[in-house]
């Protein structure tokens, strides 16, 4: 993770396998892509927001939990909710 040691291997599925561990992850992915397509967020804002999550939240979260946390941060900052 971030080139740092001590976090173990990165889990990676087989090529062609299901890319989501649960339905809610697919929903988060779709939400992010819809917000991007509508010009609400771009990929770099999403990466930046993931990096700005509180460290305790970031370290405890799964991959798509980080995406969701970043989307929540961005739509709040942009005044959309």
């Amino acid at each position: 993770m971030g080139g740092q040691a001590g976090f173990g291997p990165v889990p990676a599925g087989e090529d062609g396998g299901v890319p989501f561990a649960a339905d809610w992850e697919a929903h988060v992915y779709a939400l992010a892509k819809m917000l991007r397509r509508r010009g609400v967020v771009n990929d770099d804002e999403l990466r930046d927001a993931i990096e700005r999550l509180p460290p305790q939240q970031y370290l405890a979260a799964s991959y798509y939990e980080r995406w969701l946390g970043a989307l929540e941060l961005l739509v709040a900052e942009k005044g959309l909710i």
Binding site: G2, G3, Q4, D44, E45, R47, D48, E51
Partner: protein
């Protein structure tokens, strides 16, 4: 664009107070350009809502694991924008 495949480059060692695509583990290290990837918008700008973002050449830069971590026989290749790099 300033570099070609085979160019030696050193990654700038700064730690900006905004988003950047330079991983900390390559900062200050020297690698070799292995491909020129065309021109792309600078993530440091687009992450901050700067419009229009700067557009720069982007390069695939290969580092030896030994250069980055002091040991290992493999290499790591990172996509890096023009302004992240200097000549060594």
């Amino acid at each position: 664009m300033s570099y070609q495949p085979g160019s030696r480059v050193r990654v700038r060692a700064g730690d900006p107070d905004h988003h950047t695509r330079v991983p900390r583990y390559v900062r200050g290290h020297t690698g070799e350009v292995v491909a020129v990837l065309g021109h792309w918008t600078l993530p440091d700008d687009s992450a901050r809502g700067i419009t229009p973002p700067r557009t720069e050449a982007c390069y695939a830069v290969r580092f030896s694991a030994a250069e980055l971590w002091g040991s290992g026989d493999h290499t790591v290749t990172v996509d890096l924008w023009e302004s992240y790099l200097d000549r060594p």
